[in-house]
Symmetry: C2
Subunit: 336 residues, 2 copies
């Protein structure tokens, strides 16, 4: 139904957060499809930007380092872009509770700057926003559909919700075509594994690679669903290629809800290294924990034909292979 391959050939595509995890994987795929790719990244320390991420396509994409909160910069950069994948964001829940202002700047102000730039300088652009399942908070029922209340448990979730709502309002009021994908736990090559503040799955992969002890909070019974990054990329490409879903939000999750304990067992078995230990919840994490979560992505599947293609076992194996081959590019020696 959606001709993803054909849609992006010769198309001008901008990716904010383009040196990050999903952004770089998207860039590699888009370059392969013949798109003219512009990556915008602010190189915020401790965030996901990594120049090695775009090593396979570094001669085929353009990079503009810039602060996305800067209106003049964004006014210039958005001009002439056909599709904008808006992936720049602060993703650490814990950091947002230590410094809520920085989270506000990146996840709210920067989103307004991008949308204002489109409104005034490129109203014909199509924008796809990287939302998050985090906006739901602790679910009332499983699986979680888009009709579930938005009730974030931390500042990061609140600001990501606001960033998403801005996109819908600019779509509805100013005609800047936009939609949002509420991603669950995305994993795969090019994710930050340098520290443990960007989601647990990258960190578990890192510990398995290192043959270290993987600490699981509580009894490991909490359930999550996982999306391999290639499937997430496919979701973004589909969303960017259809106007039928403008103004809407969609869950994009995996179809193998998995207990933390089982995830770690699988990782340890695939890597042949590492151990699992159950530990008490650290109070600052328990306070913002959401219990079990997995998403119902039926709406997005029905509207775009998307379906996750990579099984968790295969995705984790590919992820471990990638980092084994490129470990030094993701774990600096001082941190190893």
């Amino acid at each position: 139904m959606i001709d993803v391959a054909g849609h992006y050939r010769g198309r001008r595509v901008m990716i904010t957060g383009g040196l990050g995890f999903i952004g770089s994987n998207l860039a590699i795929r888009l370059a392969g499809l013949g798109a003219e790719v512009l990556l915008v990244d602010s190189l915020i320390p401790d965030a996901g930007a990594n120049f090695f991420n775009i090593e396979p396509v570094q001669d085929r994409v353009r990079l503009n380092v810039a602060d996305i909160r800067q209106p003049h910069t964004m006014n210039y950069l958005v001009r002439g872009q056909d599709v904008i994948f808006n992936l720049a964001g602060q993703v650490s829940h814990i950091d947002s509770m230590k410094d809520p202002y920085s989270d506000l700047e990146v996840n709210c102000r920067a989103q307004l700057t991008l949308l204002e730039a489109c409104r005034h300088h490129n109203p014909a652009a199509k924008v796809v926003f990287a939302g998050t399942r985090q906006v739901y908070g602790r679910p009332d029922r499983l699986p979680v559909t888009e009709d579930h209340l938005v009730r974030p448990t931390d500042v990061n979730g609140i600001n990501k919700a606001a960033g998403e709502y801005y996109h819908l309002v600019y779509n509805n009021v100013f005609g800047v075509r936009a939609c949002s994908l509420r991603l669950t736990n995305v994993y795969g090559p090019r994710q930050l594994i340098r520290h443990n503040r960007q989601g647990f799955i990258g960190w578990f992969v890192r510990l398995a690679l290192d043959g270290a002890e993987i600490q699981v909070f509580g009894d490991g019974s909490q359930v999550r669903d996982f999306v391999y990054v290639d499937d997430a990329v496919d979701a973004f490409l589909r969303a960017g290629a259809t106007d039928a879903i403008n103004g809407e939000v969609f869950n994009v999750g995996g179809d193998e809800p998995t207990r933390h304990a089982d995830l770690v067992t699988l990782l340890v078995s695939l890597s042949g290294r590492g151990t699992c230990r159950f530990v008490e919840w650290p109070p600052e994490k328990k306070a913002i924990d959401i219990g079990s979560f997995y998403a119902d992505s039926a709406r997005f599947r029905a509207r775009t034909g998307w379906a996750p293609a990579v099984r968790l076992r295969d995705g984790l194996a590919a992820t471990l292979d990638y980092y084994r081959a490129h470990y030094a590019h993701y774990v600096p020696e001082t941190a190893a």
Copy 2:
């Protein structure tokens, strides 16, 4: 059940937005109850601050003019306060669509500043936030309960939603006791009637006072519910006096859903002046309109014993009387 009168005697109470519409009415009531009242207001031009609002109690309350986004200021001011009524806000939907950044500063950053100040310098404070029915956007069903999705139609509604969520997270995670009242259309003495960008009801009152033409958009069939400011004040006092509702949000609305056309007819009849004319929707207002709205406040009533006491007809009559007596304090000569 809740001993409002007894609760506030000798209690230290801070009101942000204290020179504004609801803030000043609350201050007058609290001074009467024997509270030690500190008003904080940033005197943002075009917002609701009016020194005449506190004329009846100016010798019995303290005023501190300050930018609520300023951390050091707020760190100092919150110290020792028992209850904080957090009413400071930018309320214009239209302004938020022209300048979303200013709205972000007041409705998001300033809320974080207040809550961070409480977290670090007065974690025992109780905070009551002035939320808004605007967070619901265009309702799926009427009357609207708190289980309705949050789906704002403009930037102001988004930022007010974020401001509200911050309060809940600081309650749940940091123990700063907080709750939010989602007010519908509050009206009464001390509302800004200088310009038409702070809700239509104050403006309709102004036009009726002036004997001018009141323009109603469309056919006037859109329904709203209204809360007289004394009833809104009573709701805040009850919320501030009970810990049983911490971490929750509540609709606070009127019980006489009324068509715009009927509201204007009533106003014209009560004032003996003014006329009603139906006009086309201005496009920038139509784009963010929510159709008919009225709230179900059963949850707040059940939990606090609150009920609106003032009928719309009586409230409007009292409002007209107030402005007739004090017109010059609300409509500067150059704007008359």
